[in-house]
Amino acid sequence: MGGAKTDIKLIDENGLRFDGRKPDELRPIRIEANVLKRADGSAYLEWGGNKVIAAVYGPRECHPRHMQDPLRAVVQAKYNMASFSVSDRKRPGPDRRSQEISKIISEAFEHVIFTHLFPRTSIDVYMEVLQADAGTRCAALTAASVALADAGIPMRDLVSSCAAGKVQDTIVLDLRKEEDNFGEADMPLGIVPRTGEIVLLQMDGDLTLEEFNKTMSLATEACHKIYELQKDALRRKYGVTDDEDVQESVDAVAESVPDRQEEAEEAFEDEQEES
């Protein structure tokens, strides 16, 4: 980044980008919730050329033990790129970059998850980048957030994320690989859409204050769009119809919540009678 020289025309005369997008246009995004059977929660996301799978385990007993917090759960996010995710084989294993991304994503989630409800546990979030095309940390964060909701982890809101940057003196949204490599600046942003709080913000390259503000508002707006896609993915998976029978079944569950003990006991006593 930082503007390596290139002959590629990233922005054409009509103000359109390399791949025909407008400066404020996102790449196509597809999210699917609950794709893994073994994990407590999971999500798969395709974002332009990015393909990310996220899995959540927990809250579960915290290992290593010394990481435990007696008062709250710790969020341990792990971002990893598959060796086949980029055109040159990526050396597998944690490196400086993936450790950094894991850390900032953990911190972003610690901000929204009600960690105090699960003292001494850890909530493990694994994000695997299967195919990368710039903006993978935003893609990973977005997918992981859906996976967390899918795992039933109590949190204040989903986290939505998107990057924006500067390419050939134009502020553009959601950079792809070529724009990232040969552009002037890239700024990933993660927000809590309901309140607008910022939970992740990084910048690579330089922007003037004016450019920064424009980039911010562009990325924020996109985050809200992505928020809708995230919610849609979860609704599609768990959608409940208005059918009466379904309502009855929900009633049965709802009724049993406060006095679920009683019902277990009933079931148990029935069992006793029979035996």
């Binding site: 109590p154 809101d157 679920r260 148990f268 069992e271």
Partner: protein, 236 residues
Amino acid sequence: MNEETDNVSASEVSTGRELVLPGDMLSDSKYKAGSGTYLENGKIFASQLGIVSVRSNFINVVPLAGRFIPKVGDQVIGIIMDVGPSNWLIDINSPYPAPMHINEAPWKVEFGDTGRYLTVGDLILGKIFMVDEVKHVQVTMRSHGLRKLQGGQVVEISHSKVPRVIGRNGSMIQMIKNSTGCRIIVGQNGRIWLDGEMEAISTAVTAIQMIEREAQTIGLTDKLRELLESANKKKG
């Protein structure tokens, strides 16, 4: 205008039974914040993926997923993980391991004699009798009906589906019991113990897994009845 939008949201809530996601607003101050919700600036929001239910002024979210977090009084099926001189460590399918002291066992156990009563891998029907603020959990077997579970087998389901498996006033589980003739115990932690004839057990397990898989679908009771009847026909 503000007043109006508030009324709309409140009326939506009273019809209830809709899917909510973390961060969805449920209500303003008309209700009290129940489980699966949180309060911010006087407004109630959902904190979990689930379905809204309003009960006596409290607005709750019944979660559709999530781990079992023990509460005092929960009846659970545990597996002995470790044996100490004065206690057993029990896996109750939650993030927290739960010890049971010898005083909480239904027998008179001498110090160091624990292994003679329960060993690693044994199944017990226990009850959560203490959970403190840092979630140190303790299990007891000193209560009516609690015991070591001998024979039979165990299936695990998501603990959030337990009420659905039991059904209204135990209707679902009763149907499975009557049809298959199995003895079934449902623990709040999502473990279900079954004993009976091999074939009957496998039918019951299929039925339970179907309930878990299709907990939210239409006509589940009928589907279950169909499944059980066809199994009986095959047998008879």
